[in-house]
Symmetry: C2
């Protein structure tokens, strides 16, 4: 490649979160980076976009990049804003994260990090969402640096299938314990929720959404949950077609 | 069935929108309805959940239902709150909508209406999201009443595949022009966005997200876009597995 690749970077924890600072540093070895990321935490925003209110952007200086904006919108807004408004040409690669916390299994549909990557793939650009299975703000992202380098390098070298992005989850273990990388499928699972009820100082109830993840297929060995609990980084090729193709014939009784 | 079915109703346009008022009226002929819906418009919220702030609920009286709450959260929060906190037992059916505007093709991933239905399916309950391809608040939902009745009746009579919900879109035409119902797949398509730039009274720029939908497969005859533009209600069986299964083998070069 005669020119250095253009790499767009975003996340859902906000433009100054340690995970995106680490990712932009790693990515800058591979190309010219552009950062457009939320101006505040946007975890759990899924594929939300801002259509009922306005969006603002602001030049910032958290990263070693020539083009850098914080954006008042969601992670998906950030990708749309970067690709359709800020940049003159499409980026060669879009990276999202590194998320503070797992986006394996069903978490993918709630994840702002992964929705940004899915949006990138929809825009026709190879995209990768990275997540570390550690919710702590002091998480150590460097443990998997070598394998993250390898994934970015592979994504720039090989042509990815069109419309597909990668959901990369990194187990929270030391580099010496990391066994490698597995390309796997999304585990079937769900959250069992509990709404924690509290009272405000004025006697009115309010709630915090909490819950426990339940793995529906603990015996499967081709899933992201299996890979993560066995010391591997998991990569799930991810796309935006939600059709349950195998059930179309079965549901023909709805036709008239 | 000895008891009347329990039907949970939600939407993303807000608990008092004409679409949900119409849907709860139609559904009440089939069972006892419970309404838990957003206290304000939540269009474009996708699968967002509220984890960085608190959630409140409030008893309301917009519908002919014994149990009815508005909720400060997203459509997905509404389903989680209803199923895990408000109700003693799982509902028999979850209905979301009727949305003011299309949720066909790629719109499904941005749609709060459909995310509520997907969440219902994840909770193990047969779920349907309804959308009318008319963004007007004065939209006429009654044109398709007979076919909506038929879909609800079918969903209560037949056992739906587990984890699947239905994405039902209704074309904006008179009942005399409606040709029937087709069970189809999600059309490949995308939005080409434009950010409309304006200035606030203080000289600072802000943006509105606008755009045009582009159908990537105008020749296909087994898609929701085809059904809608040919006078049919489209039903797409929809699920939350985002894995691009067909590409897993192809991407094994990422493994180490």
């Amino acid at each position: 490649m005669s020119q250095r690749p253009k790499i767009l970077i975003t996340n859902d924890d906000g433009i100054s979160a340690p995970g995106i600072i680490f990712l932009s540093k790693v990515a800058s070895a591979f190309g010219d980076i552009i950062v457009v990321a939320p101006d505040k935490p946007q975890s759990g925003m899924g594929h939300a976009i801002t259509i009922n209110s306005t969006i603002r952007i602001q030049k910032t200086n958290y990263h070693q990049s020539k083009i850098e904006y914080s954006c008042s919108g969601t992670p998906v807004d950030c990708v749309k804003m970067a690709v359709n408004h800020i940049l003159d040409q499409k980026p060669d690669l879009i990276l999202s994260g590194i998320n503070h916390g797992s986006n394996s299994s069903i978490n993918v549909i709630y994840s702002g990090t992964m929705s940004a990557a899915i949006e990138g793939a929809l825009e026709g650009t190879p995209s990768i969402g990275f997540s570390l299975c550690d919710y702590s703000l002091e998480a150590d992202f460097s443990q998997a640096e070598q394998l993250i380098n390898q994934i970015i390098s592979n994504a720039l070298t090989h042509k990815m299938p069109n419309g597909i992005c990668l959901n990369v989850n990194i187990p929270n273990i030391n580099s010496s314990q990391l066994k490698g990388i597995k390309v796997v499928r999304q585990t079937k699972g769900n959250w069992v929720e509990r709404f924690e009820e509290r009272q405000d100082p004025y006697g009115r109830n309010y709630y915090w959404l909490t819950g426990e993840f339940v793995n529906f297929e603990t015996d499967a060995v081709d899933t992201d949950e299996w890979a993560l609990s066995n010391g591997f980084i998991s990569i799930v090729p991810t796309q935006a077609d939600l059709t349950a193709h195998q059930t179309i014939k079965q549901l023909k009784y709805f036709e008239v």
